[in-house]
Amino acid sequence: MIRIAVDAMGGDHAPDEIVRGAAAASLALTDVELILVGDARQIDRLLREERHEAERIRVEHASQAIAMDEKPAEALAAKPDASLLVAARLVARGDADALVSAGNTGAAVLACSRHFHLIAGVRRAALAAVYPTEIRRGDKEDPFSLILDVGATLDVTAEDLVSFALMGAAYATRISKNPRPRVALLSNGTEAGKGPKEIVRAHELLLAHTGLNFVGNVEGVDIPRGTADVVVCSGFTGNIVVKMLEGVSETVMRLARYAYKEKLVWRIALGMLSGGIGRLKALTDWQEYGGAPLLGFDRLFIKAHGRSRSRAVENAIKVAAKAVRSGLHDDIRKRVAEFEARRST
């Protein structure tokens, strides 16, 4: 049985939407036990109102919670019984296989770095996000590409970028079932020498010492085109990229809503396009993707969006279960060890 600890008190809509998402996941995932961490009274009040599988849910009481706007280090120090910390400790002790939280990202990354250990050969963790593209991949015709890091490590070295590439490729292989994902570095030009020195050096290392399907550098425009299946960058760049992509998607939808209200002709035109717009909306809806994995630690953490509603939470739990089931961490360990071995010879 896979065990997933869920921070029931983390997120803009916690605990209501988190518990609802977990309740739905408990019915859908027959090989998963969910450990809901948080105020037991509140969790129980919410569970009573939902269809759920009580046999596969246990509650771990935590008397404190970290708010979305709290400073991570201060909050972790002041609240030792916070749901996020209790959940992270459960995972660190091996009582759970993965952690899912929609709470304060900084506090979650910090909690993981304090309680989990980096995989041998990985020096920095990376937060990965998926984004829909024009191209379909693998047997499941997955439209998503993976971008990492999107915020865990702001300053990176070339070695960090290489480990991100290895981890991203493992994730794409195991989770998206893409047997040989195309890996690229995000830069300001496709030529090998373009970009800051860590990108240039990472390019050399990826070509020389990994067996990855490395396709070189890509530019920002290539992300939605799907030129690469795994796009590697620093946390600083990645965070700006995903926030911008999210903003573009939301703006398009807002403009469509505006046009619908504004003129009858536009309304008719939008009505004719409604099927396509619906598909576009479904494709760009982050609630479908579940969450972003924090890769590099010996334990799995899936960060769900802070604004997650129940559907997003359910999907985040499903992604966590899939990652555990697929042996993602063993694959990452193997790839990193192979890189180290090749490099030393």
Binding site: M1, L27, E33, A40, R41, D44, L47, R48, E49, E50, R51, H52, E53, A54, E55, R56, I57, R58, V59, E60, H61, A62, S63
Partner: protein
């Protein structure tokens, strides 16, 4: 030798309560009708619980099965029960064929109009001082059983019962017969517990307005824990039920421990009772030893109780005020009618869709 005086009657529904029956689609309904006894699957733990309840009575407990399954299945059902080592004192099935032949189609789906007179008739035949009823969340068992309990206790008058039967749209002869049976049934506050098996994993909150007597359970380990608390079963019997559930392969120590924690959180099992069960089970632990080491069992269960922290125990469920049965039955009839309409509409949509997708149909 004379038989001991009847002390308690355990009334069981069959489909989705004792048996894992699928009748949500026409196909599964037909499959169910032609199943052999050996093909029928009991809900894990239900046979062990039924056997334990019989054994605990030493002849003073009665098992009555009342089901909406057609009478034509009675031989198959009896054979299935025999395979499970269970002998029912009474097996009442529904006369669906004669209802259909007489054009009484309402009776095919009617719950209150079928089960209530059958319960009353059974009690007139043999009235025990105590009764425990087992049902499920697929139909209206909680409502029908509460109505039966309050009728026995004299909390529902003949006049109000008449209004209930009107709300249930009962046929005139059923109405007259039910009122007659209610007038003759031996009364008393006999129904001590109503256990509702949540086969459909329904939310538990809607059952709370029926009061403390009704306990929704996710499995028969939870039912056994409640009955241990009610002093119907001892620790050995509870372990026996757990053992059968573990042996079924559908349960693990974790799912049982989570079930225990769920009952405590809902205020349906006291922590003291859970701890007492643990102590009583210690010398009996060998009955589970081949399935899991004693230390692991103790650790798993203790961890679930400890996980709730220093929170004060959840307050026990409150007794219900007198329920407005005519309104509840009317709401239930409307709910089931709407559910049927939406099922029919979905079936029709699915059929249209499959016709469109069928290349031979284009």
């Amino acid at each position: 030798m004379t038989a001991p005086a009847l002390r308690h009657t355990y009334r069981w529904d069959l489909d989705k309560t004792y048996l894992r029956t699928e009748f949500d689609t026409l196909g599964s309904l037909i499959r169910t009708a032609f199943e052999k006894p050996a093909d029928k699957r009991a809900v894990p733990g239900a046979p062990a619980l039924m056997r334990a309840l019989v054994a605990a009575g030493a002849g003073a407990h009665r098992i009555c099965i009342l089901s909406g399954s057609p009478r034509q299945l009675s031989r198959v059902v009896a054979a299935k029960l025999a395979l499970d080592g269970v002998t029912a004192d009474e097996l009442v099935l529904k006369p669906n064929l004669s209802n259909a032949l007489r054009g009484r189609f309402r009776a095919l789906r009617d719950q209150v109009g079928y089960k209530l007179p059958a319960l009353l008739e059974s009690r007139i035949g043999a009235a025990a001082p105590g009764e425990t009823l087992f049902g499920d969340d697929a139909e209206s068992d909680a409502l029908t059983y509460c109505l039966y309990a309050d009728l026995l206790a004299g909390r529902v008058t003949q006049r109000e019962l008449g209004r209930v039967l009107d709300a249930a749209n009962a046929y005139p002869d059923v109405r007259a017969r039910t009122l007659d049976l209610a007038a003759r049934v031996p009364g008393g506050d006999a129904v001590q517990r109503i256990l509702i098996h949540l086969e459909g994993r329904s939310p538990t909150a809607p059952f709370e307005h029926y009061g403390a007597r009704v306990v929704p359970v996710f499995n028969y380990f939870q039912a056994a824990l409640v009955l241990y608390q009610d002093r119907h079963l001892d620790a050995g019997a509870v372990l026996g039920i757990a053992r059968e559930m573990l042996a079924s392969g559908e349960h693990s120590l974790d799912t049982l421990a989570n079930s225990l924690q769920d009952l405590i959180r809902r205020g349906r099992l006291g922590i003291k009772t859970a701890l007492a069960l643990g102590e009583e089970s210690m010398p009996l632990g060998s009955s589970l030893a081949e399935l899991a080491p004693q230390s692991e069992i103790a650790r798993t269960f203790t961890a679930r109780v400890r996980a709730l922290g220093a929170l004060p125990a959840a307050p026990p469920a409150a007794d219900a005020p007198l329920l407005d049965y005519p309104a509840l039955v009317a709401a239930d009839v409307a709910r089931r009618r709407d559910a049927k309409r939406s099922r029919d509409a979905k079936r029709s949509r699915d059929a249209k869709r499959s016709r469109r997708q069928d290349p031979d149909h284009r």
